[in-house]
């Protein structure tokens, strides 16, 4: 394909987006309704493949889509680690059934995710993680401790790396699960920093459960799956997707979350068409501080894949 052809097809996407926004954006919609429209139309994460609620666009173009939506004045796509990390990981390694189960709720902002990777003694040496998952029928019982979990207190699901086979070298016995954070056996404790804020959490897992069907990418294949997550973390960093400014006032506005209640209305910040009609006072930290506080910014270095 020549460059010209690429450009032409890309321009067609942006024309389609303009038309779609004209037809679909309505400030009277609830956030949930809007994100449902946007996600199912493939505009929340257009970098995802077409079978995963995306449009198969290169990341640069996906960023341009987000910018175009912003310029138009419509509410941006749901942010958070689900869209940035879980969705592309599941799109790459998950089954179609898993894509429909998890990615759909991510692109429509119905469920938010956190990352259950680091442990007190497994950060830079991520492959040394000790959280155990032991099979029990068609479920797994999980015990262990995770740390530096952004959004842990709000997330519906976690990208869990757990050791499923301790009798093989460390990279070969790890499995990646889509893990429910809302269950007995999951305790999330905020880590208050000396700034007075609590951006991260500890997560204690005590006989927590996860279904066999929630394994992403196959039993004991978790290291490769996690590397996809980390690669997306790096890419997201460079593009600014996922670390964008907060779109929703929340108690911790610098933590980008992606879930809203079904009836939540977005304060009418902007009218249909171009230009703001009002401003939502969103308290934000200065841009000098936000990046360094964002877990997505540091994850890429947490577990660089071994060569």
């Amino acid at each position: 394909m020549t460059d010209t052809a690429t450009n032409e097809s890309t321009e067609a996407v942006f024309e389609e987006l303009d038309g779609w926004l004209d037809d679909n954006w309505d400030p009277e919609l609830t956030v949930r309704q809007w994100w449902e429209r946007m996600g199912l139309a493939g505009w929340s994460a257009p970098n995802l493949p077409t079978n995963a609620y995306g449009r198969g666009l290169p990341r640069n173009d996906a960023v341009r889509v987000a910018q175009a939506i912003d310029r138009f004045g419509a509410l941006p796509a749901p942010g958070g680690l689900g869209l940035l990390l879980a969705a592309p990981t599941i799109a790459t390694h998950g089954t179609q059934e898993q894509i429909d189960r998890y990615v759909r709720d991510i692109v429509t902002g119905a469920q938010s995710w956190c990352q259950l990777f680091s442990e007190p003694s497994a950060g830079s040496d991520l492959a040394g993680l000790q959280t155990r998952a032991v099979r029990d029928g068609d479920e797994w019982i999980v015990n262990g401790q995770k740390v530096w979990t952004s959004n842990g207190q709000k997330a519906d699901l976690g990208m869990l790396m757990a050791r499923t086979d301790p009798d093989v070298p460390k990279h070969q016995g790890i499995t990646y699960f889509a893990f429910s954070m809302v269950q007995p056996g999951v305790e999330v404790r905020p880590l208050t920093e000396m700034t007075g804020r609590a951006l991260f959490n500890e997560v204690f897992l005590t006989d927590a459960r996860v279904a066999d069907a929630a394994i992403i990418g196959g039993l004991n294949q978790g290291w490769a799956v996690a590397n996809t997550t980390l690669a997306n973390e790096r890419a997201g960093l460079g593009s600014g997707v996922g670390v964008r400014r907060p779109v929703w006032p929340s108690p911790a506005p610098w933590v980008v979350t992606s879930t809203v209640g079904p009836g939540t209305s977005y304060p009418r910040r902007r009218g249909k068409g171009r230009g703001p009609v009002g401003r939502v006072p969103v308290p934000v930290l200065p841009p000098t501080v936000i990046p360094t506080m964002s877990r997505p910014c540091v994850g890429p270095w947490a577990a660089a894949p071994s060569s």
Binding site: G128, P169, E193, T195, L285, V289, M293, C297, V298, P300
Partner: protein, 163 residues
């Protein structure tokens, strides 16, 4: 992040101009250093972008960026405290206290400087410590031998562990 690096220097420069510390030669020198590190980060970012666009890569660049970020944070902390002076010792631990602190100090940017100074201890530790970054740069960029290790051939259960 690249913008933040340059932006960090700008924030401090603005405060220094407002409170007159920009006339202090030590502060000026520090601001020049901070600005330079910010620019280095920006140029490295552009280099990496160009390399990626050309289908290549710059080995170790994420590690170099991470190390730089830690350094910039430390520099910002020390310089920021020099510029803020005694007011830098005050901090609003809760968001609701921020407004009253700002009015007491008279320059809202000093709040941010203090916040940054308190946070500056974190980046050299989180996301792979400075020492880990240097190990990785040593092995992958400079081609130094890896530390001797049997952890790729030994069962996880047989490896020594913390806790």
């Amino acid at each position: 992040m690249r913008r933040a690096m340059g932006g960090g220097a700008k924030l401090l420069i603005d405060v220094a101009r407002r409170n007159g510390t920009d006339q202090d030669p030590i502060v000026r020198q520090g601001l020049a250093q901070l600005y330079t590190w910010g620019e280095l980060g920006r140029f490295n970012g552009l280099r990496l972008k160009a390399a990626k666009a050309a289908g290549t890569d710059i080995p170790g660049m994420p590690n170099i960026s991470k190390l730089s970020m830690s350094h910039i944070m430390r520099l910002s902390r020390d310089l920021g405290m020099q510029i803020a002076g005694a007011a830098g010792m005050l901090h609003a631990y809760h968001h609701k206290d921020r407004a009253s602190l700002e009015s007491a100090i008279g320059d809202p940017a000093i709040n941010f400087i203090t916040e940054l100074a308190l946070l500056a201890q974190a980046p050299p530790i989180y996301g792979g410590t400075d020492q880990i970054q240097r190990n990785i740069i040593g092995e992958r960029v400079l081609g130094l031998p890896k530390e001797p290790n049997n952890d790729r051939t030994t069962a996880f259960a047989d490896l020594p562990k913390n806790a």
